[in-house]
Symmetry: D2
Subunit: 354 residues, 4 copies
């Protein structure tokens, strides 16, 4: 099985199940000599952690990262950075009801079919808990990339959509509310909607928008590893993601070439940015922006019918502490994956010029 690594030179490999001993990873290729800001790493972890607000899962997980290697006297050494996050709050008893039956729209059934059996506790390897390791690596990548600004925010929850272009938003306000929508009014409506959905024992989907600024010209490796193709894969690899678009995206299909083309300024920047900062798979120095669709969380606290391993019908009901809407906590994950993509292309790009 391949599949647990992301990146060519700046490369993250992760391990771990939600209710095993620990999750963690190895980050390779981080250049030497970077003085790591550990508080910044912790801050990213806190943005992702459960229990951070009233509208996310109330599980308590501290998500404390233990670094094993690759850092000496506070600086990266250029050798692999090994790390783990112990699963302190396992509560396996919560999950015994799913041992023998398959939850709809979860990965239980396919894991059993693919591997013959599974660690059924809380989703095991398919749990979004794995993304905590991505946030660790992404937080380090951000420190390597320091000139490049990576911001994500919630732009839609259910049918409540933020209809303001990102250029007109104050992205520093993203953290000012639990929904992580930088517009206060829209955030309040989104929050109210999430609370309502949760009350019903139900869940709701959403959209996260990402914006990457200050990107040097030249990142991306055609023809298969185009910047936006790798970015799309990165985002699609996050749990619950159903779609990715960048620049003009799906709306752009309605445009004519004469409207869609981005005319040049004399300095190589462009007057418009329908391209979304990428031409032919290579960054052109303009902002890279993109949208990511997240489905509603599959775990609902309502009675439902499903099948067990033998194919018999069983009646059951979701238990435990789950997110009514995944997008608020997914914002730092999106930023982390974007940082991993950019860091890798930065290293790959340096090797080109003879």
């Amino acid at each position: 099985m391949a599949g647990n690594s992301f990146g060519t030179l700046f490369k993250l490999t992760t391990f771990g199940e939600s209710h095993g001993v620990a999750i963690g990873g190895i980050l390779e290729g981080c250049p030497s000599g970077i003085a790591l800001n550990m508080d910044a790493i912790k801050a990213e972890m806190d943005r992702r952690k459960p229990g951070q607000s009233a509208i996310v899962t109330q599980r308590k997980e501290e998500d404390k990262v233990e670094f094993f290697s690759g850092i000496f006297e506070g600086k990266t050494t250029g050798t692999p950075i090994g790390f783990a996050i112990y699963n302190s709050n396992q509560k396996s008893a919560d999950y015994s009801h799913i041992k023998d039956s398959y939850r709809p729209s979860h990965a239980d059934y396919v894991y059993d079919q693919k591997y013959g059996f599974r660690d059924y506790r809380g989703g095991g390897r398919s749990s979004a808990r794995e993304t905590a390791s991505r946030v660790v690596a992404g937080a380090i990548a951000k420190q390597f990339l320091k000139e490049i600004k990576i911001n994500a925010f919630v732009s839609q929850v259910g049918s409540i959509s933020l209809n303001i272009p990102y250029q007109e938003l104050d992205l520093s306000q993203t953290e000012a509310n639990p929904v992580r929508c930088p517009d206060k009014t829209t955030a309040a409506a989104m929050e109210a909607h999430i609370r309502e959905v949760r009350k019903e024992g139900d869940t709701i989907g959403g959209i996260i928008t990402g914006v990457i600024q200050n990107v040097p010209v030249g990142l991306g490796e055609p023809v298969f590893d185009k910047l936006h193709a790798q970015l799309g894969k990165a985002m699609l690899s996050i749990n619950a993601v159903k779609g990715f678009e960048y620049g003009s995206g799906f709306e752009g299909v309605k445009m004519k070439g004469s409207e869609h083309n981005d005319a040049f300024n004399t300095d190589g920047t462009t007057k418009t940015n329908n391209s979304g900062g990428v031409q032919g798979g290579i960054s052109n120095g303009m902002d890279i922006f993109f949208n990511i669709a997240f489905k509603p969380v599959a775990t609902i606290i309502q009675p439902y019918e499903t099948i067990d391993k033998k194919g018999d019908i069983v009646q059951t009901k979701g238990k435990g502490r789950h997110d009514p809407c995944v997008v608020p906590r997914a914002v730092p994950i999106v930023e982390a994956m974007a940082a991993l993509v950019l860091a890798d292309f930065m290293l790959l790009n340096r090797v080109i010029k003879s």
Copy 2:
């Protein structure tokens, strides 16, 4: 530079510029003993080739594939399949006007910035001509996958959208018209729109829908190489693509979990398929379906202003024979990339069980 290979075990590496001597590739990992149907390969090439109808580019390229290796007495040998397609119709003179200036929304500028200079003839490496090599490899992949049915079709041109679920369409009708939309009425409207746009010297975007059927349960390699993540990357790596969604996609964000969840039948299939055939990154045996957004082609036959290498403003005008809308010819490319993704996951999946 990485970037010219796709796949881990069933792996295609391509080379070639649009106006160099030849384009081509090496396909590795194709199992031995497959009796290749050369007519089927040619048929796929013909679906992609220029000049096939009145609504595509009128360039004449025969796109004849020469196989160098990996095939003996009509069967694959398990060794790499090398092949080339000579660029018979180079007409370099057509492109001299773009030698020193940068076409808007083309890759001219970024290639120059990244590599220091570029083969400026007709887009060079960034030309969609490269996708002919993908179609060759995809046509072989289809023969390896024979149980699995892969179909793509045009579902939108500009604002003209096919609003019929794929299950209600007769996909065998896709080839019955030059637009490759299986619904005759919609196809006619799309064709008329493309003709109109071309008359203006303009271009228009579109959407291709893909459907993969008869997929075994278990394909896909979490957590980074999820089936839909790799499929998304494959599609986003095609020229002009701006977005990818599968299953419920962007519309799914508006749904509640109780609506979106796909309840099981007793045989492991599901009653609905909002998941789009993939759970947790692994195929569940249901149909995989997805949409791909294509921007309008950047080359327009209208006067426009742009910059030259020195950053000076120049007045110019598109020349040559270009597609007014890329989606009809992109249908076989989408199918080819889907076949490459599936073939690779088939091989990766076989190695799992001890």
Copy 3:
């Protein structure tokens, strides 16, 4: 930086410095459903650990492996196996004398040049302590490979050579003495020589011979990933290794083709085995055997002259507890690397047949 992973499908990635918090790794691709014998893993670790006999380093390191993931109810799940070995006995004070000067024939100088600085404590990433992670992964690989027998033993120490063909040795006697030479008389002479060398504060080189039996026909992936090429790389990646030969090896160059060719028996086996079990990079079912040359350990307990970071001459002397001869403890490392190579080719080979 690439370089911390070995294998394509059965893949080990390691992290860790000798005096950091922990060393460890992630083993990907191990098939699901293998009931792991933890005692067998511990037994391999004990063969490698310091302090096991009077002729190896007297450092005390328990080398207890903590498994984080990929194992559920005693069986592999097919997901990545994360593990760590804490560095309990760090004693950093022992190494302060090498902080600012470069030990001859160690990696101190090149690490400083390559990365700008280094974790100078005990060799850091370049320490042979890293091989403990390989032994963990190799012990798991052995359990996957169970039909295949992998044995290594010491065949030379300094000029004392074991001149008996492996077929005439009882390889079960390898563990009967601290040198790990299966011939009692030669082992005694080797042991005496190591004791003598240690008394002088000096060190001595040696050769390990490996034998792999019961290998199925067909393993190895030409043309670059030939079985013996990957095996050679595996062995050359072990600390202190200076050479690798298999089958007739360096002696074979003196032979004529008529002597060297291995005539077939009617069942496809061969009458002789100068080929060493590999033809054209693919296993032929005969025993694979090979020799590995290890240089004398660079750390000697004698006064010597060297340079510091400024290039000034300094007088110094080795300290600490080091191996006078590396080969006895390297035997399980050689077996582990052989097991990783074979396990990966086993998985790669399964995917070939259509």
Copy 4:
């Protein structure tokens, strides 16, 4: 099947059977802007080609390289360089006698077992003809590396050994005789021996020594992709190679640490070079030197007994035009593989420093 690619960033993928339409490859990652000297490439091809002297195979193959891409106006563009060498002189009739029987110590049997059948003409994929593609790529790598000097020469044929250290040889004399041994007297003895062996219809083994000079400090990627490990794999992947050693090699095992250690000069160079230019897997700036053992060619022009596909004994006799000793023609192949290894590490090394 993996196995047809070598390198991570500077990467060669080859295709082709000895008697198919063509052999060739794709070279990725060559930096842009290198003005290629095509005569230098041809010169390397001529050093490898059959029929170049009286002591090599008398087959006539022109080995003309056709470049397809990646070169524009005489310079590399940074895009993949595709190339092919047509198999003009196929003479398939020569090989019909080996269609149904297995030649001893050839890859016929294992290819049939692994893939189910094989292209039996002249060795197919397992033929050393594949190495012509490596020489093309290596000749380009040499032009990228221009500061680094890579020389190989024949140092042993059968039992006739060149016992002069490379430092005392004039390596410019390597091409002065058909054996490619830079010492005239030894070369004459070697040549006489090869003629004698050929007269008997027999073959003989040999050793090639390689020397790489002017290497910057810092190349190599521990812990698995150590410079010498990757170099060893490169050499072991060449047809007929049975062993690799570098620096003190197998002789070094007899030395004590106090003799073997290379004391530093104040500029970081060392007084001796038992290390062979590599410490801990990273180049230290001293000469890298190594020996490679080649077995005698398996094809002999004598009657012999073997088995056919059914396992029945058959009497046969080698035919065709074969090399009595492989080392003279293997010299440029060794240099090519060394160049590929160095070029890749050069690119990988540039990405380290933050």
